[in-house]
């Protein structure tokens, strides 16, 4: 298949799928089947892109056949392809979960088209090679997030969405401002051209570039919830149903951090002496604040939400250390985290579906009643905390080793302490939800609560098992993914391959 078509497929498939879903009207079952077909095709196209990039190196395509600095280019490098593939795995799992885990009403009024358009936004953000186009894809992704978060319109959802919308509109405004400054400084928006220009020594607009990088750090910092811009995340991510929040929580803040890593390795390299210590401090604080926040929570989903923040700190840590090994650690960690975090959210969804609560105080005895679910949770939770030989360990090992080699002992110490605290948090969920005796509930389970039959339960388990297998695969057989992550980090740090692929077609 030609590269031109291949690079557009991850955008085209969800778009066509969403259009088809809208065309069949409110028939939720037909929509579900269509969405499932698209999920499979999306995963296939992402995997083919990943395979092509790992075999033949970075490749690019020009939209509308306009030559590179003038038209919009789409580029697939290993980092983008890895994120895209893990997003596709998660997309498939969330689709499977939605079959039984989401109420009929929300499926009828547009869950599937919105999910597909959100995935189109993610593909666009991962593949685009133009900085303004990146902003546009982020807006596509955001408006779908807004609509998904408020889908159904319960009070809690509306409150969460309002916060999310406000803060994200401000973040988008900051990004747009930064893009305007970049265009006025360099007269181009193509990231490859910009990467070449910022590496020419003595460019007159160099001092202003650092100012611009702060716009982007703040804008994408808000979107990826780094310290001190994270307050919206635990206030909004737990409000919608799990089939929605699992995808958003698992993926969207990682797309923000993906963009930060992309921009700070490609464009904002002129003032690293100042930026890297700043990023290092931010990453340390993000880790600590996230995990401390989680300790105070008693809601399954809120604990997991705070852990998203804490894990974002690790991803930022790799960028802040800025060596090939540490960046590879970040790349590995993002892939691992997308899978694990989504799986934990799905487990919380299954628990809530079977026991009608997210509150740690009301839950109990899940280990006794669903031992298999307990096992699935335990493995994912230990992977999140970084217990060897599970996937979190490899990511943290690479980050810590990179930190030691670069001489950043403090951040390594902080990250190891935070790992321990993560383990504490996971143990808390384990004790409260899975081990302790179920407290005598004051409120009887409402009559309207849907009964879970045996096939329903199996269908709920399927996505969790799917992600469980994916996590075990990258844990036990981590070598290929570590290799890919190292190659991806090299592509990030030595940008010649990237610029050549875009500009010399």
């Amino acid at each position: 298949m030609s590269h031109n078509l291949l690079l557009v497929l991850p955008l085209l498939l969800p778009l066509l799928g969403a259009v088809a879903c809208l065309l069949v009207g409110q028939r939720a079952k037909v929509q579900a089947i269509l969405a499932g077909v698209v999920q499979a095709a999306w995963l296939a196209s992402a995997s083919v892109i990943l395979y092509e990039v790992s075999q033949n190196g970075i490749f690019a395509t020009r939209i509308g056949n306009w030559p590179a600095p003038f038209g919009i280019t789409f580029v697939a490098d290993l980092f983008g392809a890895l994120i895209l593939t893990s997003a596709a795995v998660v997309g498939l799992a969330v689709w499977l979960f939605s079959l039984q885990g989401l109420d009929f009403e929300r499926k009828r009024i547009g869950y599937y088209p919105l999910l597909l358009l959100l995935q189109m936004g993610v593909s666009g953000a991962c593949l685009t090679g133009d900085i303004f186009n990146l902003y546009v894809w982020f807006e596509v992704l955001l408006i779908c997030c807004f609509a998904l978060l408020s889908l159904g319109g319960t009070r809690a959802q509306l409150e969460g969405t309002l916060k999310y919308v406000t803060i994200n509109l401000i973040a988008s405004g900051l990004l747009l401002t930064g893009i305007g400054v970049i265009y006025s400084l360099f007269g181009s928006l193509n990231m490859a051209v910009l990467a070449q220009q910022v590496r020419q020594h003595g460019h007159q607009s160099m001092p202003l570039l650092s100012l611009t990088s702060i716009f982007f750090l703040t804008g994408f910092g808000i979107k990826s919830a780094i310290f001190p811009l994270f307050f919206w995340l635990p206030a909004s991510y737990h409000t919608p149903p799990i089939a929605i929040s699992a995808f958003i929580a698992g993926l969207i803040s990682k797309v923000g951090i993906y963009t930060l890593i992309r921009l700070f390795t490609l464009l904002f390299v002129s003032d690293l002496d100042f930026m890297l210590p700043l990023l290092l401090v931010l990453s340390g604080l993000t880790m600590v604040v996230g995990v401390v926040g989680a300790a105070a929570q008693t809601d399954f989903r809120k604990i997991l939400s705070f852990h998203i923040i804490s894990q974002i700190g690790y991803m930022l840590m790799g960028l802040a250390i800025y060596t090939p090994l540490a960046l590879a650690g970040s790349v590995f960690f993002i892939v691992h985290n997308i899978l694990v975090k989504t799986n934990l959210f799905l487990v919380s969804g299954v628990v809530a579906r079977l026991h009608h609560s997210f509150s740690l105080k009301k839950l109990g005895e899940v280990y006794c009643r669903q031992p298999m679910l307990a096992l699935l949770f335990l493995v994912s939770a230990l992977a999140l905390a970084g217990m060897p030989p599970l996937s979190g360990f490899w990511g943290k090992f690479m980050l810590a080793k990179g930190g030691f080699e670069a001489g950043n002992y403090t951040i390594v110490g902080v990250s190891l302490f935070v790992s321990l605290a993560t383990l504490f948090s996971m143990t808390k969920i384990w004790n409260e939800v899975f081990w302790k005796n179920k407290p005598a509930s004051e409120l009887p389970i409402p009559e309207s609560a849907p009964k879970a039959t045996v096939p329903t339960v199996w269908l709920l388990y399927t996505p969790v098992v799917l992600l469980f297998i994916a996590i075990l695969f990258i844990s036990v057989y981590a070598e290929p993914l570590i290799g890919l992550a190292q190659q991806a980090a090299n592509q990030l740090l030595y940008t010649k391959a990237y610029t050549d692929a875009v500009l010399n077609q």
Partner: protein
């Protein structure tokens, strides 16, 4: 104009932030709209204001005659306006829904209702 516009942008930004920090829902949406407006004007000004011709090449010429206005910031601006319009429309509907659901204009009441 180029002396005046930066001040206008500055005022718009500060007013919008002031509005967003209010508890009132209507002021929130006003703030969001003004913030979008301020970024759009900023994008327009920072791309360079040119008194001159459009960037369309005449039939008799090989290239456009200088001075001509740079078309890229205008294209960016148009895209940004359209996107901003969509987002603001969503925000207005959302805020109306919040008002209907909570029967209150005050952001602080949202928390109490939980």
């Amino acid at each position: 104009m180029e002396l005046l516009l930066p001040f206008l942008i500055g005022i718009l930004f500060s007013v919008s932030i002031y509005f967003i920090l209010h508890r009132h829902l209507f002021k929130l949406i006003m703030g969001l709209i003004l913030f979008g407006l301020a970024t759009n004007i900023f994008l327009f000004v920072v791309g360079g204001l040119t008194n001159g011709d459009v960037a369309i090449i005449k039939k008799t010429h090989e290239v456009a005659v200088v001075p001509y206005a740079d078309p890229v910031p205008q294209a960016l601006l148009l895209t940004a306006i359209v996107i901003g319009f969509g987002l603001q429309a969503f925000a207005i509907v959302l805020i109306r829904k919040v008002y209907q659901s909570f029967k209150s204009n005050n952001l602080d009441d949202l928390h109490k209702a939980e």
